[in-house]
């Protein structure tokens, strides 16, 4: 039965141009679409396949590609399956369309992403501050934001070096800080 639904879903998705479908498991499908085809895809999924629940919109900052990746996770209560639609948008100016008219919960997710990454969603009902109401720095989840430099500037530390920690360090353990080259905020542009 679920095989049948999966097959039918694949056929449905092929109606969209430039789409790439990867079936991760019987209940998970990853779809890569061009950014301008996403609203059509979501409309199709919602209207014809029962994917009525938008569980989340997630965002990834691919700073080296100068792109943001947005992932729309939609769930169907009938097929019991999750479709994750991935799109890439340019990092500058970082503007995309809101899907609020299709899925109302998108308003929250978009507002959150706007706050954390600075992406502007056209047509979203509210792009005001959400959780960081008392924050006026740059969007903190962008990779170029150097959190460590920020805290070194604004906050201070106290010495904490108990004997057990010294013993650990002597054995080559202790706190591990990733090497400079793995830290995006440390890369010189």
């Amino acid at each position: 039965m679920s095989q049948e639904i999966a097959h039918w879903l694949d056929n449905l998705l092929e109606e969209i141009e430039g789409i790439e479908i990867r079936r991760k498991s019987s209940r998970r499908v990853r779809v890569d679409v061009p950014a301008d085809a996403l609203p059509a895809l979501l409309e199709l999924l919602q209207g014809r396949a029962g994917y009525i629940h938008l569980s989340a919109i997630s965002c990834v900052d691919w700073i080296d590609d100068e792109e943001f990746e947005l992932v729309y996770h939609v769930w169907s209560y009938e097929n019991h399956s999750l479709v994750s639609a991935h799109i890439r948008i340019a990092r500058e100016p970082g503007v995309y369309l809101s899907v609020y008219d299709l899925y109302q919960p998108a308003a929250f997710f978009e507002r959150d992403i706007h706050e954390m990454y600075g992406i502007h969603f056209e047509g979203s009902p509210n792009m005001g501050k959400f959780i960081l109401t008392e924050w006026d720095g740059p969007p903190p989840m962008r990779k170029e934001f150097d959190s460590e430099a920020y805290i070194n500037e604004h906050l201070s530390w106290q010495e904490y070096n108990p004997p057990w920690l010294q013993a650990l360090i002597a054995e080559g353990g202790g706190v591990v800080i990733p090497p400079e080259e793995q830290r995006f905020s440390r890369k010189k542009s």
Binding site: N126, T133, E134, I151, H154, L155
Partner: protein
């Protein structure tokens, strides 16, 4: 009597030879009846329900939860304090009646813990208010919490736990750190300086450049605007 300055303070003369004994008795009683205001800022709060309820039962030590800051003795900060929360914590602390004690549970209150790299959390709680005791661990077990509370009781009984006076005596230092984080306009609804004068707790560090800055900006006291989402649009139907 409209101003706090008009309330007469009677300087107590301590001529009675029994006053030391009496002090000791007061401290003993004080340490046996502690009401904690648990400000559950972080994940460490999850260890408090078992510490309070039948399994570990803090009440056998005379420690009970209390719901309002004005009636509590201990402010228990249970975990990371985000900068937004820190403002509320300071307001709460200032409203508690003296003597008051602060316990920082969790490594996050000591040095940021696992959020050391986060832009959103304050690292050292004792920069913003005097802390009597830290209980480190991520998160400390109820046994550790109770051991810490017992230590505090001993310190109260022996008269060592008076760091709350430090907030009045060194208000300039604490205010300076608060201003550094919250901006120069930072002001709480509690007038610490007047209180310090009133209770005779002025110290060398009560006044300083930061309190002068506060006096420049000081607005007549009224409730702070702490609504969430102040730029929320009015819902349109």
């Amino acid at each position: 009597m409209s101003s706090i300055n008009q309330i007469p303070v009677i300087e107590a003369k301590r001529g009675n030879p029994l006053s030391k004994v009496f002090d000791e008795l007061v401290r003993f009683c004080r340490s046996r009846s502690l009401f904690i205001l648990h400000y559950c800022t972080g994940c460490g709060a999850i260890e408090l329900p078992p510490a309070m309820t039948s399994r570990f039962d803090m009440e056998r030590l005379g420690i009970q939860p209390m719901v309002s800051p004005r009636q509590a003795d201990i402010l228990l900060i249970t975990g990371y304090v985000s900068i937004k929360t820190l403002k509320r914590v300071i307001l709460t602390y200032e409203q508690m009646g003296s003597p008051k004690y602060v316990i920082g549970i969790c490594s996050c209150t000591v040095n940021g813990g696992m959020y050391w790299q986060s832009y959103a959390t304050a690292k050292k709680l004792d920069e913003y208010m005097p802390v009597d005791l830290y209980i480190a661990g991520c998160m400390p077990r109820p046994e550790a919490v109770i051991a810490g509370l017992q230590q505090l009781m001993n310190r109260i009984q022996s008269g060592e736990a008076n760091s709350w006076e430090d907030y009045f005596r060194n208000y300039d230092y604490y205010l300076g750190n608060q201003q550094k984080l919250f901006g120069d306009n930072w002001q709480t609804p509690t007038d610490i300086i007047t209180e310090a004068k009133h209770y005779n707790l002025m110290g060398e560090g009560t006044f300083g450049e930061h309190t002068r800055l506060l006096e420049q900006h000081q607005k007549p006291l009224e409730a702070l605007d702490m609504r969430l989402g102040h730029n929320l649009k009015e819902p349109t139907e």
